[in-house]
Protein backbone atom coordinates (compact mmCIF):
# COMPACT_ATOMS: atom_id res chain seq x y z
CA UNK A 1 0.00 0.00 0.00
CA UNK A 2 1.28 3.39 -0.95
CA UNK A 3 1.23 5.90 1.85
CA UNK A 4 3.00 8.58 0.04
CA UNK A 5 2.10 10.46 -3.11
CA UNK A 6 4.66 12.34 -5.12
CA UNK A 7 4.12 15.85 -6.33
CA UNK A 8 4.34 14.69 -9.93
CA UNK A 9 1.65 12.11 -9.39
CA UNK A 10 -0.51 14.57 -7.55
CA UNK A 11 -0.29 17.10 -10.37
CA UNK A 12 -0.89 14.38 -12.93
CA UNK A 13 -4.00 13.21 -11.20
CA UNK A 14 -5.20 16.67 -10.46
CA UNK A 15 -5.41 17.52 -14.15
CA UNK A 16 -7.32 14.38 -15.07
CA UNK A 17 -10.56 16.26 -15.27
CA UNK A 18 -9.16 18.47 -17.99
CA UNK A 19 -9.49 21.64 -16.01
CA UNK A 20 -6.26 23.13 -14.78
CA UNK A 21 -6.70 23.33 -11.07
CA UNK A 22 -4.02 25.83 -10.39
CA UNK A 23 -4.96 28.12 -13.20
CA UNK A 24 -7.64 30.04 -11.33
CA UNK A 25 -5.08 30.54 -8.63
CA UNK A 26 -2.05 30.93 -10.89
CA UNK A 27 0.03 31.43 -7.81
CA UNK A 28 1.61 28.05 -7.33
CA UNK A 29 5.13 28.78 -8.36
CA UNK A 30 7.53 26.56 -6.52
CA UNK A 31 7.85 23.77 -4.06
CA UNK A 32 10.38 22.76 -1.48
CA UNK A 33 9.63 19.09 -1.37
CA UNK A 34 7.19 16.72 -2.92
CA UNK A 35 4.14 17.99 -1.17
CA UNK A 36 4.98 21.57 -0.36
CA UNK A 37 3.93 24.51 -2.45
CA UNK A 38 4.42 28.19 -2.20
CA UNK A 39 1.26 30.13 -2.84
CA UNK A 40 1.43 33.81 -3.59
CA UNK A 41 -1.81 35.33 -2.57
CA UNK A 42 -3.49 38.12 -0.70
CA UNK A 43 -6.49 36.04 0.15
CA UNK A 44 -5.12 32.66 1.06
CA UNK A 45 -8.31 31.38 2.64
CA UNK A 46 -10.30 32.00 -0.52
CA UNK A 47 -7.63 30.48 -2.73
CA UNK A 48 -7.31 27.36 -0.61
CA UNK A 49 -11.09 26.99 -0.70
CA UNK A 50 -10.88 27.28 -4.48
CA UNK A 51 -8.17 24.67 -4.59
CA UNK A 52 -10.24 22.33 -2.45
CA UNK A 53 -13.27 22.83 -4.67
CA UNK A 54 -11.21 22.18 -7.78
CA UNK A 55 -9.77 18.96 -6.36
CA UNK A 56 -13.28 17.81 -5.47
CA UNK A 57 -14.58 18.70 -8.90
CA UNK A 58 -11.79 16.87 -10.68
CA UNK A 59 -12.01 13.74 -8.60
CA UNK A 60 -15.75 13.71 -8.08
CA UNK A 61 -15.33 13.95 -4.34
CA UNK A 62 -17.30 15.41 -1.56
CA UNK A 63 -15.28 17.54 0.73
CA UNK A 64 -15.91 19.03 4.05
CA UNK A 65 -14.07 22.25 4.41
CA UNK A 66 -13.96 22.92 8.08
CA UNK A 67 -12.16 26.22 7.76
CA UNK A 68 -10.52 26.07 11.13
CA UNK A 69 -8.48 29.12 11.65
CA UNK A 70 -6.42 28.60 14.72
CA UNK A 71 -3.35 30.55 15.52
CA UNK A 72 -0.35 28.56 16.52
CA UNK A 73 2.31 30.76 18.04
CA UNK A 74 0.53 33.66 16.46
CA UNK A 75 1.85 32.85 13.02
CA UNK A 76 0.57 29.50 11.84
CA UNK A 77 -2.95 29.02 10.70
CA UNK A 78 -4.45 25.78 9.56
CA UNK A 79 -7.28 24.99 7.25
CA UNK A 80 -8.62 21.53 7.07
CA UNK A 81 -10.27 19.89 4.15
CA UNK A 82 -11.06 16.24 4.46
CA UNK A 83 -12.09 14.24 1.45
CA UNK A 84 -14.52 11.46 2.10
CA UNK A 85 -14.12 9.38 -1.01
CA UNK A 86 -11.14 7.51 -2.24
CA UNK A 87 -8.69 9.64 -4.06
CA UNK A 88 -5.87 7.29 -4.71
CA UNK A 89 -6.44 3.65 -5.26
CA UNK A 90 -5.88 1.36 -2.34
CA UNK A 91 -5.38 4.16 0.13
CA UNK A 92 -7.74 5.14 2.86
CA UNK A 93 -9.00 8.50 1.70
CA UNK A 94 -8.20 11.62 3.51
CA UNK A 95 -6.25 14.71 2.68
CA UNK A 96 -5.32 17.72 4.70
CA UNK A 97 -4.37 21.08 3.42
CA UNK A 98 -2.18 23.00 5.80
CA UNK A 99 -1.49 26.64 5.38
CA UNK A 100 1.31 28.47 7.03
CA UNK A 101 2.74 31.95 6.84
CA UNK A 102 6.23 30.49 6.69
CA UNK A 103 7.81 27.98 4.41
CA UNK A 104 7.32 24.66 6.13
CA UNK A 105 9.44 21.63 5.85
CA UNK A 106 7.31 18.89 7.40
CA UNK A 107 10.34 16.80 8.14
CA UNK A 108 11.74 19.41 10.51
CA UNK A 109 11.13 19.10 14.19
CA UNK A 110 9.81 22.64 14.48
CA UNK A 111 6.60 21.45 12.92
CA UNK A 112 5.94 18.84 15.57
CA UNK A 113 3.34 21.05 17.20
CA UNK A 114 1.47 21.56 13.97
CA UNK A 115 1.51 17.86 13.21
CA UNK A 116 0.36 16.97 16.68
CA UNK A 117 -2.42 19.50 16.31
CA UNK A 118 -3.51 18.00 13.02
CA UNK A 119 -3.44 14.53 14.42
CA UNK A 120 -5.62 15.59 17.28
CA UNK A 121 -8.12 17.00 14.81
CA UNK A 122 -8.32 13.60 13.19
CA UNK A 123 -8.98 12.04 16.59
CA UNK A 124 -5.74 10.18 16.68
CA UNK A 125 -5.82 9.13 13.02
CA UNK A 126 -3.16 10.95 11.07
CA UNK A 127 -4.19 11.90 7.57
CA UNK A 128 -2.38 10.06 4.85
CA UNK A 129 -1.82 12.95 2.50
CA UNK A 130 -0.99 16.45 3.39
CA UNK A 131 -0.43 19.37 1.10
CA UNK A 132 1.65 21.94 2.82
CA UNK A 133 1.12 25.34 1.39
CA UNK A 134 3.27 28.22 2.39
CA UNK A 135 1.60 31.52 1.76
CA UNK A 136 3.54 34.55 0.75
CA UNK A 137 1.91 37.91 0.58
CA UNK A 138 2.11 39.45 -2.84
CA UNK A 139 4.45 42.39 -2.92
CA UNK A 140 4.98 45.11 -5.48
CA UNK A 141 7.80 43.21 -7.13
CA UNK A 142 5.61 40.17 -7.63
CA UNK A 143 2.74 42.19 -8.97
CA UNK A 144 4.87 44.31 -11.26
CA UNK A 145 7.40 41.79 -12.33
CA UNK A 146 6.35 38.27 -11.78
CA UNK A 147 2.87 37.14 -11.26
CA UNK A 148 0.61 38.91 -13.64
CA UNK A 149 1.68 38.56 -17.22
CA UNK A 150 0.99 41.23 -19.83
CA UNK A 151 -0.88 38.77 -21.96
CA UNK A 152 -1.34 35.05 -21.83
CA UNK A 153 -0.12 34.52 -25.35
CA UNK A 154 2.53 31.90 -26.06
CA UNK A 155 4.24 31.95 -29.45
CA UNK A 156 6.41 29.14 -30.79
CA UNK A 157 8.98 29.87 -33.47
CA UNK A 158 10.80 27.14 -35.38
CA UNK A 159 13.50 27.91 -37.94
CA UNK A 160 12.69 31.60 -37.63
CA UNK A 161 8.99 31.20 -38.43
CA UNK A 162 6.02 31.38 -36.12
CA UNK A 163 4.43 27.94 -36.12
CA UNK A 164 2.07 27.97 -33.17
CA UNK A 165 0.26 30.40 -30.93
CA UNK A 166 -1.95 29.61 -27.96
CA UNK A 167 -3.18 30.81 -24.60
CA UNK A 168 -0.99 29.71 -21.68
CA UNK A 169 -4.01 29.34 -19.42
CA UNK A 170 -5.74 26.87 -21.70
CA UNK A 171 -6.17 23.28 -20.64
CA UNK A 172 -3.50 20.64 -20.85
CA UNK A 173 -2.18 20.11 -24.32
CA UNK A 174 0.83 18.78 -26.14
CA UNK A 175 2.34 20.61 -29.08
CA UNK A 176 4.69 19.08 -31.63
CA UNK A 177 6.80 21.37 -33.82
CA UNK A 178 9.39 20.56 -36.46
CA UNK A 179 12.70 22.26 -35.77
CA UNK A 180 16.02 22.35 -37.56
CA UNK A 181 17.19 18.93 -36.35
CA UNK A 182 13.84 17.24 -35.85
CA UNK A 183 10.79 17.28 -33.64
CA UNK A 184 10.33 19.17 -30.40
CA UNK A 185 7.44 18.27 -28.13
CA UNK A 186 6.10 20.89 -25.75
CA UNK A 187 3.65 20.59 -22.92
CA UNK A 188 1.32 23.28 -21.65
CA UNK A 189 -0.09 22.54 -18.23
CA UNK A 190 -1.40 24.58 -15.32
CA UNK A 191 -0.37 27.88 -16.88
CA UNK A 192 3.18 26.70 -17.49
CA UNK A 193 5.06 25.45 -20.51
CA UNK A 194 8.02 23.10 -20.87
CA UNK A 195 9.82 21.09 -23.50
CA UNK A 196 9.25 17.36 -23.00
CA UNK A 197 11.13 15.89 -25.94
CA UNK A 198 13.62 17.33 -28.33
CA UNK A 199 15.66 16.11 -31.28
CA UNK A 200 18.70 18.01 -29.98
CA UNK A 201 21.53 16.20 -28.26
CA UNK A 202 22.03 18.86 -25.58
CA UNK A 203 18.76 18.26 -23.74
CA UNK A 204 19.37 21.53 -21.94
CA UNK A 205 15.98 22.75 -23.05
CA UNK A 206 14.36 19.78 -21.30
CA UNK A 207 16.36 20.36 -18.11
CA UNK A 208 14.99 23.92 -18.02
CA UNK A 209 11.64 22.55 -16.87
CA UNK A 210 8.40 24.47 -16.59
CA UNK A 211 8.36 28.18 -17.27
CA UNK A 212 5.65 30.78 -16.84
CA UNK A 213 7.41 33.87 -18.18
CA UNK A 214 10.28 34.79 -20.44
CA UNK A 215 11.37 32.27 -23.02
CA UNK A 216 12.47 28.70 -23.58
CA UNK A 217 15.20 28.21 -26.14
CA UNK A 218 16.42 25.12 -27.93
CA UNK A 219 19.32 26.55 -29.92
CA UNK A 220 20.41 23.35 -31.77
CA UNK A 221 16.87 22.69 -32.97
CA UNK A 222 16.23 26.40 -33.52
CA UNK A 223 13.02 26.35 -31.50
CA UNK A 224 12.12 29.44 -29.54
CA UNK A 225 9.13 29.63 -27.22
CA UNK A 226 8.08 33.13 -26.36
CA UNK A 227 6.13 33.12 -23.12
CA UNK A 228 4.16 36.05 -21.66
CA UNK A 229 6.30 39.07 -20.86
CA UNK A 230 6.91 40.32 -17.36
CA UNK A 231 4.90 43.40 -16.59
CA UNK A 232 6.72 46.69 -16.67
CA UNK A 233 10.06 45.08 -17.52
CA UNK A 234 11.88 45.86 -20.76
CA UNK A 235 14.18 42.83 -20.83
CA UNK A 236 15.54 40.09 -18.59
CA UNK A 237 19.19 39.24 -18.18
CA UNK A 238 19.66 35.49 -17.99
Amino acid sequence: MKNYISRREFLKRISIGGSAVFVPLTFVRDRLDDTTFILYSNDAERDIRELTKAICRDFGLKAKFSGHKIDLDGSHRSYRAIFFQEIFSGVKPDLTIVQSDEVIDPSKSGMKNVRRFLHSLRKGKPSRHKIWISVKRRNILNILAGLEPNTNKVEIFANGKKVEEFDILKNYREIVVNGYAGKTVLENRNGKVRIVESACKHRNCIYEGFRTHGKIICAPNKVYVKLPDYNNIDAVTL
Binding site: L141, A145, H202, R211, G214, A219, Y230, A235, T237, L238
Partner: protein
Protein backbone atom coordinates in the same frame (compact mmCIF):
# COMPACT_ATOMS: atom_id res chain seq x y z
CA UNK B 1 -10.29 87.52 -17.58
CA UNK B 2 -9.87 84.25 -15.78
CA UNK B 3 -11.89 82.46 -18.46
CA UNK B 4 -9.61 83.89 -21.18
CA UNK B 5 -6.55 82.75 -19.30
CA UNK B 6 -8.03 79.31 -18.91
CA UNK B 7 -8.72 79.12 -22.65
CA UNK B 8 -5.13 80.21 -23.43
CA UNK B 9 -3.77 77.55 -21.05
CA UNK B 10 -6.05 74.93 -22.55
CA UNK B 11 -4.98 75.79 -26.13
CA UNK B 12 -1.30 75.79 -25.19
CA UNK B 13 -1.82 72.42 -23.48
CA UNK B 14 -3.39 71.06 -26.68
CA UNK B 15 -0.47 72.38 -28.72
CA UNK B 16 1.96 70.78 -26.27
CA UNK B 17 0.12 67.50 -26.53
CA UNK B 18 0.25 67.59 -30.32
CA UNK B 19 3.98 68.25 -30.43
CA UNK B 20 4.81 65.67 -27.78
CA UNK B 21 6.77 62.72 -29.05
CA UNK B 22 5.34 59.26 -29.02
CA UNK B 23 7.43 56.14 -29.07
CA UNK B 24 6.63 52.79 -30.56
CA UNK B 25 8.42 49.67 -29.36
CA UNK B 26 9.31 46.87 -31.75
CA UNK B 27 10.86 43.54 -30.81
CA UNK B 28 12.66 41.08 -33.09
CA UNK B 29 14.33 37.72 -32.54
CA UNK B 30 17.09 35.81 -34.29
CA UNK B 31 19.35 32.76 -33.70
CA UNK B 32 23.13 33.36 -33.74
CA UNK B 33 26.21 32.64 -31.61
CA UNK B 34 24.46 29.58 -30.23
CA UNK B 35 21.77 31.62 -28.54
CA UNK B 36 18.76 33.85 -29.18
CA UNK B 37 19.30 37.49 -30.07
CA UNK B 38 16.50 39.82 -29.01
CA UNK B 39 16.35 43.39 -30.19
CA UNK B 40 14.02 46.00 -28.73
CA UNK B 41 13.86 49.19 -30.77
CA UNK B 42 12.21 52.39 -29.65
CA UNK B 43 11.10 54.39 -32.68
CA UNK B 44 9.73 57.91 -32.67
CA UNK B 45 6.36 57.90 -34.38
CA UNK B 46 5.69 61.63 -34.58
CA UNK B 47 3.63 62.49 -37.66
CA UNK B 48 4.28 59.12 -39.13
CA UNK B 49 2.10 56.10 -39.31
CA UNK B 50 2.95 52.92 -37.47
CA UNK B 51 3.39 50.86 -40.61
CA UNK B 52 6.28 52.93 -41.98
CA UNK B 53 7.88 52.97 -38.50
CA UNK B 54 7.63 49.21 -38.36
CA UNK B 55 9.17 48.82 -41.80
CA UNK B 56 12.13 50.99 -40.81
CA UNK B 57 12.61 49.15 -37.53
CA UNK B 58 12.44 45.81 -39.33
CA UNK B 59 15.08 46.90 -41.85
CA UNK B 60 17.40 48.03 -39.04
CA UNK B 61 16.83 44.80 -37.13
CA UNK B 62 17.70 42.84 -40.27
CA UNK B 63 21.00 44.72 -40.53
CA UNK B 64 21.81 44.00 -36.90
CA UNK B 65 21.05 40.31 -37.39
CA UNK B 66 23.31 40.34 -40.44
CA UNK B 67 26.07 41.67 -38.23
CA UNK B 68 25.49 38.88 -35.72
CA UNK B 69 25.59 36.27 -38.49
CA UNK B 70 28.90 37.68 -39.69
CA UNK B 71 30.39 37.55 -36.20
CA UNK B 72 28.98 34.04 -35.80
CA UNK B 73 30.80 32.86 -38.93
CA UNK B 74 34.17 34.27 -37.85
CA UNK B 75 34.28 34.20 -34.03
CA UNK B 76 31.99 31.43 -32.82
CA UNK B 77 33.83 28.18 -32.18
CA UNK B 78 30.68 26.18 -32.88
CA UNK B 79 30.60 27.43 -36.47
CA UNK B 80 32.71 25.18 -38.72
CA UNK B 81 33.58 28.04 -41.04
CA UNK B 82 35.01 30.20 -38.27
CA UNK B 83 38.69 30.84 -37.69
CA UNK B 84 38.33 29.79 -34.07
CA UNK B 85 37.03 26.39 -35.17
CA UNK B 86 40.07 26.04 -37.47
CA UNK B 87 42.36 27.08 -34.64
CA UNK B 88 40.80 24.56 -32.26
CA UNK B 89 40.69 21.57 -34.56
CA UNK B 90 43.21 21.66 -37.41
CA UNK B 91 46.07 23.89 -36.37
CA UNK B 92 49.38 22.13 -35.57
CA UNK B 93 51.61 23.40 -32.78
CA UNK B 94 53.41 26.69 -33.32
CA UNK B 95 51.99 27.15 -36.80
CA UNK B 96 50.42 30.55 -37.38
CA UNK B 97 46.89 31.12 -38.63
CA UNK B 98 45.95 34.39 -40.32
CA UNK B 99 43.02 36.13 -38.68
CA UNK B 100 41.22 39.42 -39.07
CA UNK B 101 42.22 42.54 -37.18
CA UNK B 102 38.94 42.43 -35.23
CA UNK B 103 39.48 38.87 -34.04
CA UNK B 104 43.07 39.54 -33.09
CA UNK B 105 42.16 42.63 -31.10
CA UNK B 106 39.31 40.76 -29.38
CA UNK B 107 41.74 38.00 -28.34
CA UNK B 108 44.13 40.66 -27.07
CA UNK B 109 41.38 42.29 -25.04
CA UNK B 110 40.40 38.86 -23.72
CA UNK B 111 43.97 38.27 -22.58
CA UNK B 112 44.00 41.71 -20.96
CA UNK B 113 40.88 40.83 -18.95
CA UNK B 114 42.47 37.47 -18.06
CA UNK B 115 45.43 39.31 -16.57
CA UNK B 116 43.19 41.68 -14.63
CA UNK B 117 41.08 38.82 -13.25
CA UNK B 118 44.11 36.76 -12.18
CA UNK B 119 43.31 34.22 -14.96
CA UNK B 120 39.90 33.44 -13.50
CA UNK B 121 38.44 34.49 -16.82
CA UNK B 122 40.41 32.80 -19.57
CA UNK B 123 39.56 32.29 -23.24
CA UNK B 124 41.61 29.08 -23.25
CA UNK B 125 39.09 27.39 -20.95
CA UNK B 126 37.74 25.76 -24.12
CA UNK B 127 40.57 23.21 -23.75
CA UNK B 128 38.52 21.37 -21.13
CA UNK B 129 35.19 21.49 -22.94
CA UNK B 130 35.63 18.30 -25.06
CA UNK B 131 35.69 16.34 -21.79
CA UNK B 132 32.16 17.47 -20.93
CA UNK B 133 29.14 15.87 -22.64
CA UNK B 134 27.12 19.10 -22.91
CA UNK B 135 26.40 18.43 -26.57
CA UNK B 136 25.89 14.71 -26.18
CA UNK B 137 22.83 12.71 -25.39
CA UNK B 138 24.47 10.47 -22.80
CA UNK B 139 25.66 12.45 -19.81
CA UNK B 140 28.68 11.45 -17.74
CA UNK B 141 31.09 13.09 -15.33
CA UNK B 142 34.42 14.29 -16.76
CA UNK B 143 37.56 12.27 -16.18
CA UNK B 144 39.46 14.00 -13.37
CA UNK B 145 42.85 12.70 -14.52
CA UNK B 146 42.26 14.07 -18.01
CA UNK B 147 41.25 17.44 -16.54
CA UNK B 148 44.40 17.49 -14.45
CA UNK B 149 46.48 16.60 -17.49
CA UNK B 150 44.91 19.33 -19.62
CA UNK B 151 45.30 21.95 -16.90
CA UNK B 152 49.02 21.94 -17.76
CA UNK B 153 48.26 23.05 -21.31
CA UNK B 154 45.74 25.83 -20.70
CA UNK B 155 46.32 29.49 -19.97
CA UNK B 156 46.56 32.53 -22.21
CA UNK B 157 50.37 32.25 -22.02
CA UNK B 158 50.04 29.38 -24.49
CA UNK B 159 48.63 31.61 -27.24
CA UNK B 160 51.16 33.14 -29.61
CA UNK B 161 50.19 36.48 -31.12
CA UNK B 162 51.80 38.02 -34.18
CA UNK B 163 50.27 41.48 -34.04
CA UNK B 164 52.16 42.83 -37.05
CA UNK B 165 50.94 40.19 -39.49
CA UNK B 166 47.61 39.48 -37.75
CA UNK B 167 48.36 35.86 -36.99
CA UNK B 168 47.79 33.57 -34.02
CA UNK B 169 49.21 30.20 -33.02
CA UNK B 170 49.08 27.77 -30.12
CA UNK B 171 52.04 26.45 -28.22
CA UNK B 172 50.49 23.01 -27.80
CA UNK B 173 48.02 20.88 -29.70
CA UNK B 174 45.60 20.59 -26.80
CA UNK B 175 44.86 24.31 -26.52
CA UNK B 176 41.39 25.38 -27.58
CA UNK B 177 39.89 28.82 -27.51
CA UNK B 178 36.38 29.46 -26.23
CA UNK B 179 35.20 32.91 -27.18
CA UNK B 180 31.75 32.35 -25.62
CA UNK B 181 32.67 34.46 -22.59
CA UNK B 182 33.46 37.57 -24.61
CA UNK B 183 32.23 37.26 -28.23
CA UNK B 184 28.57 37.84 -27.38
CA UNK B 185 29.46 41.03 -25.55
CA UNK B 186 31.61 42.15 -28.46
CA UNK B 187 28.77 41.50 -30.91
CA UNK B 188 26.31 43.39 -28.69
CA UNK B 189 28.63 46.43 -28.56
CA UNK B 190 28.94 46.36 -32.34
CA UNK B 191 25.18 46.11 -32.71
CA UNK B 192 24.54 49.03 -30.34
CA UNK B 193 27.08 51.04 -32.33
CA UNK B 194 25.26 50.23 -35.54
CA UNK B 195 21.81 51.03 -34.15
CA UNK B 196 22.96 54.35 -32.69
CA UNK B 197 23.80 55.62 -36.19
CA UNK B 198 20.11 55.73 -37.12
CA UNK B 199 18.51 58.93 -35.92
CA UNK B 200 15.02 57.42 -36.03
CA UNK B 201 15.97 55.03 -33.22
CA UNK B 202 15.31 56.67 -29.88
CA UNK B 203 16.50 53.87 -27.66
CA UNK B 204 17.40 50.21 -28.01
CA UNK B 205 18.20 47.01 -26.15
CA UNK B 206 20.28 44.34 -27.82
CA UNK B 207 20.08 41.13 -25.81
CA UNK B 208 22.28 38.21 -26.79
CA UNK B 209 21.37 35.40 -24.43
CA UNK B 210 21.34 37.70 -21.40
CA UNK B 211 24.29 39.92 -22.38
CA UNK B 212 22.66 43.24 -22.92
CA UNK B 213 23.72 46.50 -24.47
CA UNK B 214 21.57 49.57 -23.92
CA UNK B 215 21.11 52.65 -26.05
CA UNK B 216 19.67 55.46 -23.88
CA UNK B 217 16.02 56.31 -24.31
CA UNK B 218 15.31 59.72 -25.82
CA UNK B 219 12.58 60.37 -23.25
CA UNK B 220 15.20 60.19 -20.48
CA UNK B 221 13.58 57.25 -18.72
CA UNK B 222 15.75 54.35 -17.65
CA UNK B 223 15.43 50.86 -19.05
CA UNK B 224 13.99 48.41 -16.54
CA UNK B 225 15.94 45.16 -16.62
CA UNK B 226 14.91 42.08 -14.67
CA UNK B 227 17.52 39.73 -13.21
CA UNK B 228 16.56 36.10 -13.44
CA UNK B 229 16.37 34.08 -10.24
CA UNK B 230 19.04 31.36 -10.53
CA UNK B 231 16.95 28.61 -8.97
CA UNK B 232 13.38 29.67 -9.73
CA UNK B 233 12.81 29.76 -13.47
CA UNK B 234 10.29 32.40 -14.39
CA UNK B 235 10.86 34.46 -11.26
CA UNK B 236 12.93 37.57 -10.90
CA UNK B 237 15.59 38.18 -8.32
CA UNK B 238 15.32 41.91 -8.76
CA UNK B 239 14.88 44.76 -11.18
CA UNK B 240 17.55 47.29 -12.08
CA UNK B 241 17.05 50.62 -13.79
CA UNK B 242 19.85 51.58 -16.18
CA UNK B 243 19.96 54.37 -18.70
CA UNK B 244 22.98 53.31 -20.73
CA UNK B 245 25.89 50.89 -20.74
CA UNK B 246 25.56 47.16 -20.48
CA UNK B 247 24.48 44.38 -18.16
CA UNK B 248 25.35 40.70 -18.31
CA UNK B 249 24.69 37.65 -16.16
CA UNK B 250 26.58 34.40 -15.87
CA UNK B 251 24.71 31.55 -14.23
CA UNK B 252 25.10 27.86 -13.62
CA UNK B 253 21.59 27.19 -14.97
CA UNK B 254 22.11 27.97 -18.65
CA UNK B 255 23.96 24.87 -19.82
CA UNK B 256 24.11 22.13 -17.27
CA UNK B 257 23.26 18.59 -16.29
CA UNK B 258 22.94 16.95 -12.90
CA UNK B 259 24.58 13.60 -12.31
CA UNK B 260 24.54 11.79 -8.95
CA UNK B 261 23.54 15.01 -7.25
CA UNK B 262 26.37 17.04 -8.77
CA UNK B 263 25.63 19.94 -11.07
CA UNK B 264 27.95 20.09 -14.06
CA UNK B 265 27.64 23.47 -15.76
CA UNK B 266 29.50 25.31 -18.48
CA UNK B 267 31.35 27.94 -16.41
CA UNK B 268 34.62 26.18 -15.71
CA UNK B 269 37.45 27.20 -13.46
CA UNK B 270 40.36 27.74 -15.91
CA UNK B 271 42.83 26.45 -13.35
CA UNK B 272 41.15 23.13 -12.55
CA UNK B 273 38.76 22.54 -15.42
CA UNK B 274 35.95 21.77 -12.98
CA UNK B 275 32.70 23.75 -12.86
CA UNK B 276 33.04 26.80 -10.62
CA UNK B 277 31.10 26.10 -7.45
CA UNK B 278 31.17 29.33 -5.44
CA UNK B 279 28.16 31.05 -7.03
CA UNK B 280 24.80 30.39 -8.61
CA UNK B 281 24.85 33.55 -10.69
CA UNK B 282 26.69 36.84 -11.09
CA UNK B 283 25.28 39.98 -12.72
CA UNK B 284 27.59 42.77 -13.84
CA UNK B 285 26.77 46.33 -14.90
CA UNK B 286 29.57 47.79 -17.01
CA UNK B 287 30.16 50.59 -19.53
CA UNK B 288 30.24 48.09 -22.40
CA UNK B 289 28.86 44.61 -22.99
CA UNK B 290 32.23 43.02 -23.75
CA UNK B 291 33.58 43.87 -20.30
CA UNK B 292 30.28 42.98 -18.64
CA UNK B 293 30.22 39.58 -20.36
CA UNK B 294 33.81 38.65 -19.54
CA UNK B 295 33.75 40.08 -16.04
CA UNK B 296 30.55 38.23 -15.12
CA UNK B 297 32.29 34.96 -15.99
CA UNK B 298 35.46 35.96 -14.11
CA UNK B 299 33.58 37.05 -11.00
CA UNK B 300 31.50 33.88 -11.07
CA UNK B 301 34.64 31.79 -10.83
CA UNK B 302 36.24 34.13 -8.28
CA UNK B 303 33.36 34.10 -5.79
CA UNK B 304 32.50 37.02 -3.55
CA UNK B 305 35.58 37.80 -1.48
CA UNK B 306 38.07 37.60 -4.32
CA UNK B 307 35.54 38.97 -6.80
CA UNK B 308 35.18 42.22 -4.88
CA UNK B 309 38.94 42.76 -5.06
CA UNK B 310 38.97 42.05 -8.80
CA UNK B 311 36.02 44.39 -9.35
CA UNK B 312 38.04 47.30 -7.97
CA UNK B 313 40.36 46.97 -10.99
CA UNK B 314 37.43 47.69 -13.35
CA UNK B 315 36.25 51.29 -12.91
CA UNK B 316 32.56 51.90 -13.60
CA UNK B 317 31.65 48.24 -13.09
CA UNK B 318 29.25 46.96 -10.44
CA UNK B 319 28.26 43.43 -9.55
CA UNK B 320 25.69 41.27 -7.81
CA UNK B 321 26.53 37.77 -6.63
CA UNK B 322 24.24 34.95 -5.63
CA UNK B 323 26.42 32.51 -3.74
CA UNK B 324 26.05 28.74 -3.73
CA UNK B 325 23.60 28.92 -0.81
CA UNK B 326 21.42 31.49 -2.54
CA UNK B 327 22.53 34.50 -0.47
CA UNK B 328 22.74 37.73 -2.43
CA UNK B 329 25.70 40.09 -2.18
CA UNK B 330 26.19 43.35 -4.06
CA UNK B 331 29.08 45.70 -4.64
CA UNK B 332 28.75 49.23 -3.29
CA UNK B 333 27.69 50.84 -6.55
CA UNK B 334 25.16 48.19 -7.56
CA UNK B 335 22.48 49.22 -5.09
CA UNK B 336 21.88 52.59 -6.73
CA UNK B 337 20.66 50.77 -9.85
CA UNK B 338 18.38 48.40 -7.94
CA UNK B 339 14.78 49.41 -8.23
CA UNK B 340 13.17 46.34 -6.71
CA UNK B 341 14.52 43.29 -5.02
CA UNK B 342 13.05 40.05 -3.76
CA UNK B 343 15.59 39.10 -1.13
Amino acid sequence: MNRKLAIVFFLSFLLFCDSSKRFETFKYTHFALGTVIDITLLVESKNADRVSCEDTAKAIARKVFGLFDKIDSTFYEGNRKSKIYQFNTNLPENRFLSVSYNLLSLIKRGIEISRKTDSLFDITVGTYLPLYPFDKERKYSPNIDSLRFLSGFTGFQNILLDTENYRIARKNGYLRLSMGGIAKGYAVDKAINLVSKYSIIKGAIVNAGGDMGLLPRADGKPWRIGIRHPRKPGELLGVVEIKKGAIATSGDYEKFYILNGTRYHHILNPKTGLPAYKCQSVTVIAPNAETADALATGLFVAGIRKGKKILERFPGCHALWVDSLGTVYTSKGFNKFLSEKSW
